[in-house]
Structures are given as structure tokens and as C-alpha cells.
């Protein structure tokens, strides 16, 4: 009898222990995830002082964004707000906040924090890239209730939610109102708190930032590691060496290093759709340039036909890139007929040097012409210089005599400003980052008031330029989803047919991974940086990488 009771008691106790221990073991957080990256930007944990790349690399781990990601497809999805609605007049966006969110000091995240954060991003001292635009477009922000906030705009801003998603921009980062008001900006910058899945631990300037995992089940995912260290290692070969020795688990790399990393036994992870390498023409619309070969759209098209994109993908990008969609569009672009345009791009961005030469002859340049080409690379895309050099070689084959001039990005950027005197009649390499909202990027490149104004400017806005402006204005005011898609397609078509900005390849983000240090994980399409991914990175024993 006693033995029987003892057995039952032991069994019950065993079941109890198993029940108590099993989930804990499954969710145990241990070890340190070490990530080596080439730049930590401003290395500040105050979101209003950092730009987009730095925000996405390291601020993203500890701050949530009002609008988040679509983890499956890429682009915009739920974030701090689980949904949002546009008012019938198009002048108010209402964001419905996910309940139960807390900051790292235990304070509840409410609509007051959202209002405070957006207003802080818009403030005069803010270095947010879109601060001035927000000040102009946002009329007021109202707290409707603890979990609902309404953003009133001066005119319809259909792209507002996208602009508050980290898929697009950093301005949606949510900061703790009560904490900042209590301790002040300086103390907050020293001891920042957010609501993300990682808590701030230490910031060693010029060296690293350390974070500690939250222990509750965060909506973005509960980290599998106990700590996350993001190391600043500017030299790529050193980063790869660190991953090989196990001093780092993951390191950002460029396409030129992919092969050697793979040969060394490292896993190479590619993030699809993070950028487009493009080339573009300056001042082709200007009357004084009308006699230049590049003023003719067919000549520009011929230059595109002379590019063997598959060779570039294979040999410059080591196979880790793909044929592009039209300018600034991707498979995940919102309100856009991606499949249709993919087919269009495959046909129109084909390699056809014979046709290119024929077009040049028809346009009066049977022996080619002289083309001035500025080769440059935006930060983090050094491979663009190699692409630019390849382009020059390919154009030479159809008789175009290319004068290639290399520019460091910081020296090239000022040339675009003002009257663009040094670039008129030139072509240059350029880049567009992977973002789901095409209109934003189009405005920056083609608006007659924009810095680049590649289709025309205020004094010289010809027919195509005016048609573009009309379409763009209709698009940003259109509330109907189907009509909006049609207008986006039309805007893309107008620009694509001008051959003023020509995509070369759709690039990816690349990472070298030590499979003994981290398990298999997937990045977010279009989001190069991994700041929103670390919490979903498993330990190697949790999910091993497939054997090669």
C-alpha cells in the first residue's frame, strides 16, 4: 500500500517537475550572440540622432517601430500598432496599438508614448532625416484613448504608415515618454530604454554596444540568446576572420568576399531585394544639351541593351543578385503590379548588343560617341565601383568611348546639388535602397523641385516631366487601393520609358555566418540590416543549418 502510494506520488512529482521544467528548458536564454558590422553610424541610442542604417543595425534591437514588417514578403506590416486606418477624407490616420506592450523599466507603452515619440522626431533639435517633412505634413497628433492615436495631416498622406515603418525609415521608433521627461535627454542618452526584445546594457564608443535579452514573450519574438553584442569592425577581412575563429557568429560582408567565405566553410546568407544598382543621366532634358547623344531616349536605351546583366550578376556579384524590376521597385513594393513588371524588365533589360549598335546607327552614331561617366559607390556598396567599371567595358564594345572618372561618395554627392554644372551631360552610377514605397523615391529623383530632378526642373519641365508630376500628385492623393496601384504602374511606366534612370541589378545584403555559433534563420526581404532579426536567431542546437 505504502509502496503503491509512493509510486503514485513519485509519478505525480515527476510529471509536475517535467511540466515545470520542460517549457523553461525550451525557452532558456543562454550564450552571447556576437555580430560584427562595418559601421555603427553615430553610435547613439537616441533615435532622433541616428540615420536609417544605424537605426536598423543596432537601435532596432531595443526599439520597436510604430509600423513594423511583413516578415514573409518584406515591406510594411504590423508593429507597435497592430493595424491602422485612413479616414474617409484622407486627412487622418488612426493607429491601434497592440495591448500589453511594456518598456524595459516596466512602464506600459501607450498612445501617449506614440504621440510623444512622433513629436520628438519632428522637434527642432531632431536629426531625423524626415523631420522637416513631418513638421510640414503633420498637423496634429491626438491621443484618442490609451491604445489609439490619431495623426492628422494637412493634406492626404497615404504613405504615412510606410514612413513610420522600419522597412522604410527610422522615424517610427517608439520612445518612453515618462522616462525621458523624468530623467531628461542627457541621462536618457546614457541609459536608454525602449520596448524592443533587447535591453540596453553598455555602449563603448568606437568598439561595441551590448544588449541583454528581455525575459518576457515579446511580440517580435523572445530572444534565444541571453546577450547580444554588436561589434564595430571596419575591415571586412577581419570580420570574416572573426567569424572563422568563432570570435563573432555573424558578420556583414560584401559580394566580393562571399566566395572566400563560403570556401572557408562559412554559411553565406543573402537578404533579397535590399538595393538596386542603377545608372542615371543628368540634365538630359535641358535645351542646351539637346544635341548630346544622351539627350535621346533611344540612345540611353541602347546603353542599357549593351549591358550584360547576367555577366555582372555572375562575376561581380558572385551569383548573389538578380535581374532588377524597374527603378526603385521590388517584388514587395506596395500597390504595384510586381509580376507584370518583372516580365517587362526581363524583356527590356536583356542583353542585346546587336540591337544596341543598330539603334546607335539609326540615331546617327554608327561609330559610337563619347560618354562621360562618374563611377561612385554609396556607403556600404563598394561593389558598385566594379559594376561601373564593367559597364564602361561593355559600352566600349558597342563603340562608345567612355571617360570614366571615379569619385569617393562624399565628394560626388555635392555635385548633384545646385545647378549640377559638373554633371550636366554625364551619366553616373547610383543606388536606390530597398523600400516598399516607390513614390517616395520617385519624388526624390524626378520632382522638378527635388535635388536630382532628372526629368526636368521648374524652368524646364517638358511634356514627360509634366505628365510625371500629374501622375505623382494623383497617386499620393489616391485613397482607392486599385486606382493607386494603377497610378503607381503608370508612374513607373513614364519613368521607365524615358531611360533616364536605368536599373542594372537588384542586389542583396550579405552575411558570413559561423554555423557552430548560431542556428538557421531567415532575414527580412528588403531589409539589409539585421536589427529586427536578432531575436529570431536560434542557437545552433535549436535549429542547425542544412548540411552542404
Amino acid at each position: 500500500m505504502i509502496r503503491g502510494v509512493a509510486r503514485i506520488a513519485t509519478l505525480a512529482l515527476g510529471l509536475l517537475v517535467a511540466a515545470a521544467v520542460a517549457p523553461t528548458t525550451a525557452q532558456e536564454q543562454k550564450g552571447t550572440l556576437i555580430f560584427a558590422v562595418e559601421s555603427l553610424g553615430a553610435q547613439t541610442l537616441d533615435p532622433i540622432l541616428e540615420g536609417r542604417p544605424g537605426n536598423a543595425v543596432y537601435q532596432a534591437v531595443m526599439y520597436d517601430s510604430l509600423v513594423g514588417f511583413n516578415f514573409e514578403k518584406g515591406g510594411v506590416g504590423p508593429g507597435v500598432a497592430e493595424r491602422w486606418e485612413l479616414s474617409p477624407d484622407g486627412l487622418s490616420w488612426t493607429f491601434f496599438i497592440r495591448p500589453g506592450q511594456v518598456f524595459h523599466n516596466g512602464d506600459k507603452l501607450t498612445a501617449h508614448d506614440v504621440k510623444f515619440s512622433l513629436e520628438r522626431q519632428m522637434s527642432q533639435g531632431s536629426l531625423a532625416a524626415a523631420a522637416a517633412t513631418m513638421r510640414r505634413t503633420i498637423k496634429s497628433i491626438e491621443v484618442v484613448n490609451e491604445l489609439t492615436v490619431q495623426v492628422n495631416t494637412n493634406s492626404p498622406q497615404i504613405g504615412l504608415p510606410a514612413g513610420l515603418s522600419r522597412a522604410v525609415a527610422p522615424e517610427g521608433a517608439i520612445m518612453p515618454k515618462n522616462y525621458i521627461e523624468k530623467v531628461g535627454d542627457e541621462e536618457y542618452r546614457k541609459n536608454p530604454i525602449g520596448s524592443g526584445p533587447w535591453k540596453f546594457k553598455r555602449n563603448v564608443k568606437g568598439d561595441r554596444i551590448e544588449f541583454e535579452a528581455v525575459t518576457h514573450n515579446h511580440w517580435r519574438g523572445r530572444p534565444h540568446f541571453k546577450e547580444l553584442h554588436i561589434l564595430l569592425v571596419p575591415e571586412e577581412s577581419t570580420r570574416v576572420a572573426m567569424v572563422r575563429t568563432g570570435e563573432a557568429a555573424i558578420a556583414s560582408i560584401g559580394p566580393e568576399t562571399m566566395l572566400s567565405a563560403a570556401r572557408a566553410g562559412l554559411e553565406v546568407l543573402s537578404v533579397p531585394g535590399t538595393m538596386q544598382a542603377i545608372f542615371q543621366f543628368y540634365g538630359a532634358y535641358k535645351p542646351e544639351n539637346k544635341d548630346l547623344p544622351i539627350a535621346k531616349p533611344r540612345v540611353r536605351q541602347a546603353l542599357s541593351l549593351a549591358i550584360d546583366r547576367k555577366q555582372i550578376i555572375e562575376h561581380v556579384m558572385n551569383g548573389k543578385a538578380r535581374m532588377p524590376h524597374p527603378f526603385a521597385t521590388f517584388a514587395y513594393t506596395d500597390f504595384f503590379s510586381a509580376a507584370k513588371w518583372e516580365k517587362w524588365a526581363n524583356e527590356n533589360y536583356r542583353y542585346d548588343p546587336a540591337l544596341a549598335k543598330k539603334i546607335l546607327a539609326e540615331e546617327g552614331y554608327p561609330n559610337g560617341f563619347e560618354l562621360k561617366f562618374a563611377n561612385t559607390a554609396l556607403p556600404g556598396t563598394q561593389f558598385m565601383v566594379d559594376i561601373g567599371t564593367a559597364l564602361a567595358d561593355m559600352w566600349t564594345k558597342i563603340g562608345v568611348k567612355v571617360t570614366l572618372k571615379h569619385y569617393e561618395w562624399g565628394s560626388f554627392a555635392p555635385l548633384e546639388r545646385g545647378d549640377q554644372a559638373q554633371l550636366l551631360g554625364w551619366a553616373s552610377m547610383y543606388r536606390t535602397a530597398g523600400r516598399p514605397d516607390a513614390p517616395w523615391r520617385y519624388d526624390g529623383a524626378f520632382s522638378p523641385e527635388s535635388t536630382q530632378r532628372l526629368l526636368g526642373h521648374k524652368e524646364h519641365c517638358g511634356d514627360i516631366c509634366q505628365e510625371y508630376v500629374k501622375t505623382y500628385r494623383a497617386l499620393i492623393a489616391e485613397l482607392d487601393r486599385e486606382k493607386r496601384t494603377a497610378l503607381t504602374d503608370k508612374m513607373v511606366e513614364i519613368v521607365a520609358n524615358t531611360w533616364t534612370v536605368i536599373p542594372i541589378i537588384e542586389g542583396m545584403g550579405y552575411y558570413a555566418i559561423n554555423t557552430r555559433k548560431v542556428g538557421q534563420f531567415a532575414p527580412i526581404a528588403g531589409r539589409h540590416e539585421l536589427g529586427d532579426v536578432f531575436e529570431r536567431v536560434p542557437r545552433p542546437e535549436q535549429k542547425a543549418w542544412p548540411k552542404k
Binding site: 540622432l49 531632431s126 564608443k205 562624399g410 554627392a413
Partner: protein
């Protein structure tokens, strides 16, 4: 001696003013930090707003006047990128550079000076040729390449040493070798040529005629006199190390002032760049002044010149 020091201080002050002007105006010719802080699709409106927020909206001359006015009060401005006083950023990183320099100098002297003496004593011999090879390699090998090579061999392949970053004593080995290899070559060459010159001098012949042991002649009389140019070179090398550790600090992810300078240039962080160059210049001028004073004590002819 006081007049000598005063004259050198005056020269240093003039040099500093020139350095400040060159850095201020040349830096602004090469671009604008706002272009590097904003995304490619930023609107002109956002650009103007950021320029204003960063205080870059005045004319270059206005900015220079503000810079000079603040600088004479010891304020070299705030880093645009790091959002902290530029002087503070410099002194935060300076110890990381200074901690590595003595070890590199020690390596250079401990290996380079005896090697130079040996080479001079075996002029034209096998040892001299070996030393010559060391000198050529030390000067010709780019520190970038050497650093990467050392990481590959000793960290990746052998697993003996950490590949990078600050840490325990083992973290110092590869950066010190990378920085010190050039110094070994430098010290070896100058010691060898100085030794050869001294060994031919009259007082050495006299010492030998007096019957002093050859060891005493070489290591006491010859080397002591040969070290005078080495002392001069020491000052130059320290200056080179302070300004030229950029590559080594970048390869080994060492957060020193070399990398800070590089970052200031890349990000067009004008206030930081100005502060770093001016403070480095002050450091180098101070070191050179110290060496000159020492030199003047060692060789009185310097004072008269």
C-alpha cells in the same frame, strides 16, 4: 636655452594656426556631412533643415570666425556624427592609441638597434644581408597587408591569438608586430649607418689604440654616440605612430585616434576632424620639442645653431 624653447614654441603656434586653417577650408572643399547623413531620397526641405540644425547654414567664412572664436577659448566644437564634444571624443580614444605605441616602440628598439649594430659589425656579411632584407621588408610591406596576413596565420590557421579588438595581453601581440615591423626596419637602418660612421671616427681609433676591449669600444663608445640620430628618429617615429596608426587600428578594430581620424574624414565630421588634427599636431609638436630639448642637452652645438 630659454630663448631656444621660446622660439620653438612660437614656431609651433604659427604651425598650429596654419594647420587649423588648412584643415578647416580643405575639409569643406571635399563635401558635406549632410549628404552622408541623409538617405538618397531626402527632400531639399529636409536637407535644409538638417543643415540648419547642425549649424552649417552660415557662410564658410562665418563658420571659420565662429570656429576661431571658440577655439581660442578651448572649445573645438561638437562632433556632428557622435554628438559629443570633439575634444572629449579625442581624449576618450587617445589612451587606446597611447597604450599600444610604447610596445611598438619597444619592439622596434629591442629588435632594430641590436640588429643594426650586428649589421654594421658584419658589413657585407651574411648578417648584414639578412638585416638588409629585414629593412626592405619592414619598409616595403604595407601594414594593411601584414596585419591581414598575421591574422590569417596566427588567428585563423593556428588559433593562437585573437584576431582583433582590445582585450588582454594576447590582443596586443598582432597589432604591436604590425606597427613595430616598420620601426624595426627604421631603427636597424639608422643604427647601422650611424654605427658605421662612428666606427670610422678618430675617438674610436684612439680607444682601440689605448687597448680597450672591442666589446667596450663597440657597445659603450660606438653605440652611445650612434644613438644620437636614433634619438631624433625616435621623436619622428612617435609622431608617425600617433598619426599613422590608422591602418593598424582599422585592421585590428582598435578604437584609437587613428580610426577616429579616418571616421572623421569619411563622414565629413568637420568639427571632429579639426579637433583631431589640431590636437594631434599639438601632441607631435610637444614630442618634437621634447626631443629637440633633449637633443640640445646631448649636443650643445644645437643650441648655438
Amino acid at each position: 636655452m630659454k630663448r631656444y624653447i621660446a622660439r620653438r614654441l612660437m614656431q609651433g603656434a604659427i604651425l598650429l594656426v596654419m594647420v587649423a586653417m588648412i584643415v578647416f577650408f580643405l575639409g569643406r572643399l571635399t563635401g558635406n556631412p549632410v549628404d552622408l547623413m541623409l538617405p538618397e531620397d531626402a527632400t531639399a526641405e529636409d536637407r535644409e533643415a538638417m543643415i540648419k540644425t547642425l549649424g552649417l547654414d552660415g557662410s564658410v567664412l562665418d563658420q571659420f570666425v565662429i570656429f576661431v572664436t571658440n577655439a581660442v577659448q578651448g572649445d573645438l566644437g561638437r562632433s556632428i556624427r557622435m554628438k559629443q564634444p570633439a575634444v572629449e571624443a579625442f581624449f576618450d580614444r587617445l589612451p587606446n592609441t597611447l597604450i599600444i605605441i610604447p610596445w611598438a616602440l619597444l619592439l622596434g628598439m629591442v629588435a632594430g638597434i641590436p640588429l643594426g649594430v650586428m649589421a654594421a659589425l658584419n658589413r657585407g656579411g651574411l648578417l648584414d644581408r639578412f638585416a638588409g632584407t629585414v629593412a626592405v621588408l619592414g619598409v616595403a610591406m604595407p601594414s594593411f597587408w601584414l596585419g591581414v596576413l598575421l591574422i590569417f596565420v596566427f588567428s585563423v590557421e593556428l588559433g593562437w591569438l585573437p584576431s582583433s579588438r582590445m582585450g588582454g595581453p594576447d590582443h596586443y601581440v598582432l597589432p604591436v608586430i604590425t606597427l613595430g615591423t616598420f620601426l624595426v626596419a627604421g631603427f636597424m637602418r639608422i643604427t647601422r649607418s650611424a654605427m658605421l660612421e662612428v666606427m670610422e671616427s678618430e675617438f674610436v681609433k684612439l680607444a682601440r689604440i689605448k687597448g680597450l676591449a672591442e666589446t667596450t669600444v663597440i657597445w659603450k663608445h660606438c653605440l652611445r654616440n650612434a644613438l644620437i640620430p636614433v634619438l631624433t628618429l625616435w621623436g619622428v617615429f612617435v609622431g608617425n605612430l600617433i598619426t599613422g596608426a590608422i591602418v593598424t587600428e582599422t585592421v585590428f578594430a582598435w578604437p584609437g585616434i587613428g580610426r577616429l581620424t579616418y571616421e572623421a574624414v569619411i563622414y565629413r565630421d568637420f568639427p571632429l576632424l579639426q579637433a583631431v588634427i589640431i590636437l594631434k599636431s599639438i601632441l607631435i609638436l610637444t614630442i618634437n620639442l621634447g626631443v629637440d630639448i633633449l637633443y640640445a642637452y646631448v649636443d650643445p652645438r644645437i643650441r648655438l645653431a
